[in-house]
């Protein structure tokens, strides 16, 4: 195991390290035991540290599954309860944007995987390159999402603040849906049911904005983490022996991707 | 109403004895195991109290014992489950021909409607011996209709109807409670269920429009009809009201004007509360339809008593600030 170079940060420095003495320290000038600098003090060895970090990230991702899960469950229940309104909702989401975003995310998971591989092979430049690629794709995703949100604003689909049941005269999607789906048409034509449709459609968009918003905020956190890792990689903090932060952040990124893989079909693709 | 100390409520419904029988069994079971465990603990603590030079034996797992005390409680649990489920299904299956009464909960009163037309507030008159099904809903938050003497409970959920039935078996008056926390005056959202002989019930249903209560004083009426519950909380306070000018909005046109609070104004407010809506401290009138009308529910005498009581309320220092 190669010893650390001066550029790897000393885990003993910094405000979060308390100055506890080491047994047997007095006789020697510093550490009574040797370990690579990247292994934290309380671990036996690098393998234990890596195992712990990986299990920790998996546990954290389990919490995230439950976190998103509650929201998705609420959406699913209302979808089942108000099929017509939620159909209208799905039809008014921008399928092209969503599909492009799906590919962007899948590709970004590839760049993440490649950066992990680069780390494992000690390819410092490779790590940086692929992480930057991931960042670019991440920003692209957010950009596409933002333009979708802006479109929803223009189409008056912001619940409570700026909301109208789409009028087939102005909305192609609505017109098509009413032509091809008798159930939706029946609901729309009945004045009492139409009022209900408007409320239920608002509920669709509440969940849409909450779900995509929660996802996007996780993307933003992911972008933050990846940026920090890019900087660290650039500084040479990682090596073939030690690149756990990249691996576990990669896990996180893949997870955020998987959330989208569920979110996208549940909201955009259920059109019948 | 029975105001004595009791360990269990009166059994005034046909389901009550079934529920109590199960309760008795569970109580005996609880007592048995609690006493058993407690006795064993005390006995072992004494018999095996620490003595020097005694090295306790090594513990060996006894699989038979483990299985026994897993399976036996499981069997007992299943017995309890089946018994409880039977009682429950009986309580849920509404019998054919059950008489329907509608109950609407709102902060903080119960509005009861008999299909024949009689309306009540905070009281439910029912005949003895006939299945009655309450169809319950709420206008605002979740409430719950609880009638301990009937072992009855069902939530009042806004946006849907819930149902629960009972057959009252004893005449008398029994507590009606709100059993789901619903805001400030949750504890005040109480009333009574009045069980009458069928003949008397018919007479009541068709008889004198106003409730013939033995209460004479205006204050007692003010409390009994639920006025106090709202008018001490979010509705305009009555303190010092009589004799001053009150800002009101016309119920139809919305025009704001100042009126003199006199007997006629008070009478109008009780009988036709939507005619003139008081304006709250923030300048907006109270909404229509919050205060129910008491037309047909009070005799003229009772109206006069209540008005007399309101007149008597002097200005109290702590006028509650109404928050919209």
């Amino acid at each position: 195991m190669t010893q650390s170079t001066a550029s790897i940060p000393d885990p003993h420095a910094g405000p979060l390290h308390d100055d506890h003495a080491h047994a047997g320290d007095a006789a020697q000038g510093g550490h009574g035991h040797s370990h690579p600098a990247h292994v934290a003090h309380h671990f036996d060895d690098a393998e234990q540290q890596k195992d712990a970090a990986t299990l920790g990230m998996w546990c954290f991702l389990a919490t995230e599954v439950l976190f998103f899960g509650g929201l998705f469950l609420g959406y699913a229940i209302y979808r089942q309860r108000y099929p017509e309104a939620f159909l209208i909702g799905s039809h008014h989401l921008k399928l092209t944007h969503g599909t492009v975003n799906t590919f962007i995310l899948l590709f970004s998971s590839l760049t993440v995987a490649l950066s992990v591989h680069a780390a494992a092979t000690g390819n410092r430049k490779g790590i940086v390159r692929y992480l930057i690629g991931t960042l670019i794709l991440g920003f692209a995703f957010l950009g596409v999402k933002a333009s979708e949100y802006y479109g929803e604003y223009q189409e008056k689909l912001i619940p409570k603040l700026l909301f109208e049941l789409p009028d087939p005269a102005h909305s192609e999607h609505m017109k098509e849906l009413l032509e091809h789906n008798p159930r939706v048409k029946a609901a729309y034509d009945d004045p009492v049911r139409r009022k209900g449709l408007e409320q239920q459609l608002q509920l669709f968009f509440v969940f849409y904005f909450c779900m995509t918003g929660l996802h996007a905020s996780h993307m933003i956190i992911g972008i933050g983490v990846m940026s920090w890792l890019t900087w660290r990689a650039h500084k040479g903090h990682f090596s073939a022996e030690y690149h756990t932060p990249i691996e576990i952040s990669g896990l996180y990124w893949h997870f955020v991707d998987i959330v989208w893989i569920f979110l996208f079909p549940m909201t955009y693709l259920l059109r019948h | 109403m029975d105001k004595g100390f009791r360990f269990i409520p009166e059994q005034a419904s046909e389901a009550a004895s079934q529920v109590d029988a199960l309760t008795l069994f569970l109580t005996l079971l609880t007592a048995f195991f609690t006493i058993l465990i407690a006795a064993l603990i005390i006995y072992f603590s004494w018999k095996y109290r620490r003595k020097s030079e005694v090295r306790p034996a090594e513990t060996k797992t006894n699989y038979t014992l483990e299985i026994a005390w897993t399976v036996i409680p499981l069997i007992i649990s299943m017995v309890i489950f089946v018994w409880g489920a039977k009682v429950f299904v009986h309580m849920k299956r509404v019998p054919e021909g059950a008489m329907e009464i509608y109950v609407v909960g709102r902060q903080w009163m119960w509005k009861v409607q008999h299909p024949e037309g009689r309306r009540e507030i905070n009281e439910i008159h029912v005949p003895r011996g006939r299945p009655v099904v309450l169809t319950i809903t709420s206008e605002d938050v979740i409430h719950s209709v609880g009638i301990p003497a009937f072992r009855f409970k069902m939530d009042a959920v806004p946006g849907k109807y819930t149902q629960q039935w009972f057959t009252a078996t004893k005449t008398g008056e029994y507590h009606l409670f709100c059993d789901q926390y619903c805001g400030t005056q949750h504890a005040g959202m109480v009333g009574k269920v009045i069980v009458m002989e069928p003949g008397e019930y018919e007479a009541w249903l068709n008889g004198v429009k106003a409730d013939d209560t033995p209460l004479g004083s205006g204050k007692a009426l003010f409390d009994a009809y639920g006025c106090a519950v709202c008018h001490s909380a979010q509705a305009p306070s009555m303190s010092g009201l009589y004799g001053r000018k009150e800002r009101v909005a016309d119920g139809g046109t919305g025009k704001i004007e100042d009126v003199q609070v006199n007997d006629e104004y008070l009478r109008r407010s009780i009988l036709d509360p939507n005619d003139q809506l008081a304006v709250a401290p923030d300048g907006k009138p109270y909404a229509r339809g919050i205060m129910p009308s008491f037309r047909g529910r009070l005799t003229e005498e009772q109206l006069i008593s209540i008005i007399a009581y309101i007149k008597s309320l002097k200005n109290t220092p702590a006028q509650r600030e109404v928050v919209p």
Partner: protein, 543 residues
Amino acid sequence: MTAINYPESAPVVEENYLNVSYDVKSWLLTLDHKRIGVLYMITVTLFFFLGGFAAIMLRLELATPKADLMQTEMYNRMFTMHGVLMVFFFLIPAIPSVLGNFLIPIMVGAKDMAFPRINLLSWYLYMTGGTIVLVSIIFGGLDTGWTFYTPYSSQFAIGNVILALVGIFINGFGSIFTGLNIIVTVHKMRAPGLTWGRLPLFVWANYATSLIMVLGTPVVAITLGLVVVERLWGVGIFDYRLGGDPILFQHLFWFYSHPAVYIMVLPAMGVISELIACFSRRRIFGYEFVAISSLAIAFVGFLVWGHHMFVSGQSIYGAMIFSFLSFFVAIPSAVKVFNWTATLYKGSIVWSTPMMYALGFIGLFTVGGLTGLFCASLGTNIHIHDTYFIIAHFHYIMVGGTIMGYLGGIHFWWPKITGRLYNETAGKVSAVIVFLGFNLTFFPQFILGYVGMPRRYHFYPEEFQLLNVMSSAGATILGFGYLMPLVYLIWSLRHGKIAGPNPWQATGLEWETSSPPPPENFLEKPVVNHEAYNYHEQEPTPN
């Protein structure tokens, strides 16, 4: 019998985790799990007494049928404060974050938790959440009850609902990170030779608890988040007028909050196992069954949330399923009670203070658990739902169970944490006062609930007064019983006898190091080559 100083079984260490440095920064920025445990101990005690103050106010008011001590809004805020502070800021964190944090790394032979910085972060999340909730209660008030039922909480309640929910949300992440730390530590950092089958039952219990914390808490987090969204945005997630469903809130809320009660009681059960084993000098009878029962409770606990909703308009079939499953969750708890009792058989028993709390726990938890059968059974649930019977049931478990377990654990490990022994007589007297006060407070509430007194009532019909007076009298005694340990434990910090490494002659890695332990827990990494609770291999105890 007072604790005896046995010959040291571990070398004397001059420097321990307490005296290694004294300045404030070394405490507030500590990464030492022991110090973090102590920080939690101080702060959960604070929240306990705040929640307890609210309880005393409630019981004082309820001594008379009329509303004569405080305004109704104040009463409603009091019971909300009591519930929120006790559930989220005392019962859930107490044992895992105080005793768990302190002991688990030592019990598995490690130098620290897997993620010390995340551990410190947990405490800061707890403190931030707690402060925000206190601010929301004190300034503006909160009167939704700790259960926040919609639509009251999402539309009608005035007060600082949003702020309180944000505080609880933040605190929830502290809980999640504690659980995550415990899971990874137990999986990955056990000493050589320490197989799962040799772990102390305290570790098993907290491990099972951590599974619940990690899987359940996120659900309540998103649920409370949706209530915040509804209040801020004015949309109708739980508003029937806008297409929403208030009952959806109940499902999502109870999906966490039922398992949460197992978060509250499982660690206490872990403590009890340790105490019974030590003070009868026997391995816990049926060790494997007790260990597995913790996991069984954690698993089945996730399947029964609907038993809180039998009268919300559930279908008969839904009710039957939830009732059926609710009986299953009782069985593993019964198995523990039987195994603990069997451990006493042919043991060598001493009624030390921790043992008194442990035995008291068994009795009170038995009552609490068996009254759970009344709740699980559909026939009786309808009548007792939302009455004082339910309050009595869960206080028997939370107070008669968890708090007794916590106090027992604090007394048992006090010498290890502080290096001092407390006054044994004072300990025993308080334990008796707590036990008696507790029963007087809560037993009458079973009857009160069955005769019909609803929960959360500020005033009540006169005929309920006698039972209420008994309960309030009990509460006063109980309160006094809780104040006593505060006094004599703090007193012992200066004046208590020096404890030595193993005053109880107990087994377990924590007793093989000094009291208080050195900063890295052990001078040499321990190796484990025997079962847990190997008392039968010890010399008989001198008297």
